[in-house]
Symmetry: C2
Subunit: 406 residues, 2 copies
Amino acid sequence: MTSPITPVPNGTVTSAKGFSAGGIFAGIKTPGIDKKDIGILFSKHPCAVAGTFTQNSVVSPTVTLDKERVGPDKQIHAVIVNSGCANTAVGEQGMIDAKEMTDLASAHLGVTSEQTLVSSTGVIGVEIPMALMREYIPQIEVSENGGSEFAKAILTTDKRTKEIAVSFKIDGVAHTVGGTSKGSGMIHPNMATMLAYITTDADVDPNYLQKTLSKSVKLSFNQIDVDGDQSTNDTVLLLANGAANGQKISGGDEASKVFETAILQVCQFLAIEIARDGEGATKLIEVTVNGAHSEDDALIASRSCAASMLVKTAVYGRDPNWGRIFMAVGKSGISINESKIDCYINDIQIVAEGKGISYNVQSVVSALSSDEVRLRVDLNVGSSSGMAWGCDLTEEYVVFNSAYTT
Amino acid sequence: MTSPITPVPNGTVTSAKGFSAGGIFAGIKTPGIDKKDIGILFSKHPCAVAGTFTQNSVVSPTVTLDKERVGPDKQIHAVIVNSGCANTAVGEQGMIDAKEMTDLASAHLGVTSEQTLVSSTGVIGVEIPMALMREYIPQIEVSENGGSEFAKAILTTDKRTKEIAVSFKIDGVAHTVGGTSKGSGMIHPNMATMLAYITTDADVDPNYLQKTLSKSVKLSFNQIDVDGDQSTNDTVLLLANGAANGQKISGGDEASKVFETAILQVCQFLAIEIARDGEGATKLIEVTVNGAHSEDDALIASRSCAASMLVKTAVYGRDPNWGRIFMAVGKSGISINESKIDCYINDIQIVAEGKGISYNVQSVVSALSSDEVRLRVDLNVGSSSGMAWGCDLTEEYVVFNSAYTT
């Protein structure tokens, strides 16, 4: 017996039982109101762990270290994260510093280095200021209410934190899944993305945990785009500590199904929030492709559309320029029949059977003025669907990235 | 015996013997000084023909028609081109109109429709104004001095025409290769690109002609990027009419080598001019990747760098942000060893063995202020090289494309 999945009010990465977190401002980033730049996520119970990581050939040593420490035979207690410096492309010092960060955090928390993961995000090519780490990591206080402190500590150019938690019951036992993520430039993830941390108090088989995470990442973080660029530090971690004292979840039953849905909901929420908060963005663009030959076709085509600079600028300019949507779907290389395509903007049909139709221009321009613009492409050649999310491209993205050293 | 390849002063697409061309303003585009929107390229001698076309699944019927009429067993006399309307995504009327355009041009020139090719470029989703075609195509006068008229007639958002011709001698016989192309948005070609027309008076075996064109396109048009988007109308045509009365060129000898070099030079010039004239661009970005495992690796990595929005905005902002160059090379997925990479901006070294080095910031910022910025990445894992070309990304691109209906 399972219950529906419901949102946890003001849910955070510490909403699941047994998780605590905290953050501190050490001066790695420029100061600001309520800014943090080092955070710790902690579970007093050991956690099964799953992770997906950047596919970029240039990889931060933090990712390399985490990959060694994540797996079905590993147990994790903590994650230490800093923002403001990516610890990438700094030579051998990078791995030395990444390891020392986990040494400092684990000593502070009373666990081992091998039970501690590490992420860094910020400028590439600059060494981690370890003196600050040595001074400030031991000062970080973790608590059950510290989820939002941690969410602040992982931000770089983001304008706001991204946090969620949902809960559901399995045979009367309450379970929670919480998470947080950060964006907001260099976003076109491949197999993994940016930074996101998801926690659950469910008791989950580790192999099944990794399978569930990978499947959810494919339909969430891997379907968003801000600027087509892929970070060297992308990481999604899912920690399951079993503190809910519920049954073992290992796939194939009703309890697993509700757990998988909860993980997907959290992943999609955190991914969409990254797209919405894209650098310089004024609008979220949601692209749905229906009637494709396969789910992969639908995912590829929807992402091609969400990632197209010409679609992004058309949405910014409130221009119902469906020729660019056609171009973007077509360049993805999937199998289509042009004369069967229908297009909709916020449910208003503008293309039928591959040709533009008469529509009320004022209605469509007004739809394009919303904070959320939904583009829908019905290919009508099969029965599979897929979704992707992006943001509009504005002058502010250009101004920002021509002045900011990533 | 062959001579060196030399530029033809004020060379155009009609510099090769036996080619003539012309253009007219029919009112498809908004009027402007010296604007043209229909052009004809003509050869009184029948031409062997080679072509490469867009790989986008949404294809203009003009491309579909040209593909039927291009091949080793075909002979071509003329190309009719209009700008301002792409004749794409307009249903069955598109093919009817494309064919009628070739009927009108061939009747005017005294050749057959099957000997006539057609291209259209401009807004997608709008039908060709055939009444204008019927009135104006018969009025187009072609002449040996009309190359620049034709070059004007194919432009859309381009700021200037792109024209070149080079000549060389084979056993004392002068041969010429000329060409013209247009850009300047929706540019990230795949296997073919935009519109480009190349002419030669050499007598060339048709199978060898296609092989030569495909090889040159791979190293020129397929290595440029303005905005990552791929047009539905991309076309490169190479016409060889044999009017120089030289020997047959069919590969494998010294004469073929000089011919191949001339074709590559013309393709690279026309491709680079498209990148330089990218929408909103203020600078040309040339990326060279050396020391790769294979030529394909070097081509992929250089193009990934030239196409990265974060590299483009950094160059615009004169920011020597080599972390973004690393990210872009890494996301291409080629095999690298991070600790061996050296980076240079306009020959000033800024990265050695994967780490930033001290450099004179003023010199590098000043190098980034040039009209042409050369980024060089030495991977030092192999001996292959590749080049790609892009332009910077500016606020003007966003303003332009949020207001313009492609």
